[in-house]
């Protein structure tokens, strides 16, 4: 590394970036970890093993995993259609995929609730089949799928666009049918992107709050998610409980993101 950098501004941009990052992100997060670390392992166990926390954790992680799983299937279909086919309205459809990114979560929450409530546009069909849309764990799943779905499309799409047709053509000359080509040639090269998309959707779903609290009904032990539990602990001034649950959630999220980083790096390394 040379001492004399050609382009100016190293010191200034380094100083500002580090100072701002520390003030806004690192110090506040450190305060959270310190708060939680101030409690002994016994306290941690007492807080995290409370039945209400366990029930909320089961719902949060379970619904997030299910939503991310469904997002992978739907996202793959939508990405495939957007990349491979040309049809009228394709660009509009492509722009629509980002709607859950742009629509504020509170708006998503109330509008999904109105649609999936027993009297809503889709809710009354579901009610006809005996399924409760809003105010049930299924409602949580619906909201989390809405939130997570664009992550899968937007991670798979660029990879799909870069796939060359040589391998597919080779497979065809070797006598493979279309389904075999998809299953044996195309799908394997999309798997890393699908896993990344799943993880991003899952990580986002774990922390999601605004779109869920309206549709879930928020019954403790039944339809209460972890972020809501943190809020209700805070409202009762139970800072320690809130901090411990928050740190638990953060550890899971960070572990997930580290995992995809490692996975990406290994795949990049394999390719080169």
């Amino acid at each position: 590394m040379s001492k004399h950098r050609v382009i100016p501004g190293f010191g200034l941009s380094l100083g500002f970036t580090i100072a701002y990052l520390s003030l806004i992100i690192l110090i506040p997060l450190a305060a959270l970890f310190l708060k939680a670390a101030g409690l002994g392992p016994g306290e941690w166990w007492r807080i995290l093993s409370a039945p209400r926390v366990l029930a909320a954790a089961r719902l949060t992680f379970g619904a997030s995993a299910a939503a991310a799983g469904v997002s992978v299937v739907a996202g793959l279909l939508v990405a495939w259609v957007l990349v491979r086919y040309r049809f009228p309205g394709r660009r509009l459809l492509d722009a629509m995929v980002d709607l859950p990114f742009a629509l504020p979560t509170a708006v998503a929450g109330i509008t999904l609730t109105s649609i999936y409530a027993p009297s809503g546009w889709l809710g009354h069909y579901l009610a006809g089949w005996g399924i409760k849309g809003a105010y049930s764990p299924f409602g949580v799943f619906i909201a989390l799928t809405f939130i997570g779905f664009p992550f899968v499309v937007r991670t798979v799409q660029p990879v799909m666009e870069d796939l060359g047709s040589e391998l597919e053509e080779a497979a065809v000359t070797l006598g493979a049918g279309r389904w075999t080509v998809f299953r044996r040639v195309i799908l394997p090269s999309l798997v890393p992107a699908l896993i990344t998309g799943f993880t991003l959707a899952f990580a986002r779903a774990i922390g999601e709050y605004g779109s869920v609290i309206f549709i879930s009904g928020n019954l403790p032990m039944k339809t209460e998610i972890l972020p809501l539990l943190i809020v209700s602990q805070l409202e009762q001034f139970r800072y320690c409980e809130a901090a411990v649950i928050a740190v638990g959630m953060l550890i899971v999220s960070f572990a997930l993101l580290c995992l995809i980083n490692l996975l990406q790096r290994r795949l990049d390394w394999n390719r080169s």
Partner: protein, 277 residues
């Protein structure tokens, strides 16, 4: 004859229909419902809900929070992108991951950290109370929570863009005797302006729509510390559905404008790239 690397027409149209159906039922319907519910009790109720004092003060507060958070994070995004794309130094990879950190943090936790620092029973709570300065349940809290959640947006857009462009042009400018600020304004900025605009738009959309983090620090004081999303929640919980959805149309329109501009920016940069080739 169709190429060997595509599906037969019926399969193609089946897949297209399935995808369109998914997007319409799953994404378009909720968007449509916002407007239908907002006008359910007529245009008069709709406009009255927007003219209400509490709604106006919520809009004001939302605009103030965004007006502070977006420029701050834009400045940070530019500095951080300049730092990690123009220079190589130890800890650079770590820094890039740290910038993304807020994406992995639940909005509720983004609010919680400020309560632990500045809340009545937080680290600096007693000191703030002694000096009669309020952060939590007041405007400063809403602003810092918004800054936290919108922190990575501009940097995230600029870093890949500036990485791909390299720094040859900036180096050439240096050898021609340009000064730092000149290089940024005359060389870098014209190259990144569309990416920058898009990052700012996303940052702004999130800043104005943020709910979880702001809800934790705001205290829901009507007419005082309710941003637009919080005002919507209050109305909804009071069963004033038409009013809640009327206010929600403002945020839905903001989302639509953001998406429209995004498509326009993408379209424009795509054509620009094609021209340069």
């Amino acid at each position: 004859m169709r190429p060997v690397t595509t599906e037969s027409a019926p399969v193609r149209w089946l897949l297209i229909s399935l995808a369109v159906l998914t997007l319409v039922l799953f994404l378009l319907l909720p968007l449509l419902a916002v407007f239908v519910e907002a006008f359910r009790r007529g245009a008069e109720v709709f406009f009255a809900s927007l003219h209400e004092e509490a709604a106006l003060s919520a809009v004001r507060l939302t605009l103030i929070a965004a007006a502070v958070a977006v420029p701050l994070n834009t400045l940070f995004g530019l500095a951080a992108a300049w730092l990690v794309t123009k220079f190589r130094f130890r800890g650079r990879a770590l820094l890039v991951s740290l910038i993304d950190l807020p994406f992995a943090v639940s909005p509720v936790i983004a609010g919680l950290v400020w309560v632990l620092l500045f809340g009545a029973r937080g680290w600096f709570g007693p000191w703030l109370a002694a000096h009669d300065f309020k952060i939590i349940f007041a405007l400063p809290g809403i602003i810092v929570a918004t800054v936290f959640v919108t922190f990575p947006f501009v940097a995230r857009e600029l870093i890949p863009l500036m990485e791909a462009q390299g720094s040859d042009q900036e180096q050439a400018a240096v050898t021609l005797g340009a000064r730092g600020w000149q290089i940024f304004r005359r060389v870098t900025l014209p190259n990144i302006k569309w990416g920058l605009l898009y990052g700012v738009l996303l940052c702004n959309a999130r800043a104005m729509g943020e709910f979880g983090a702001v809800s934790v620090v705001s205290g829901h004081i009507r007419g005082k510390t309710n941003t637009l999303p919080l005002h919507i929640e209050v109305l909804y919980n009071e069963y004033q559905f038409s009013a809640a959805f009327a206010c929600a149309t403002l945020l839905a329109l903001l989302a639509l404008v953001t998406l429209g501009l995004k498509s326009a920016v993408e379209h424009f940069t795509h054509h620009q790239a094609a021209r340069h080739k």
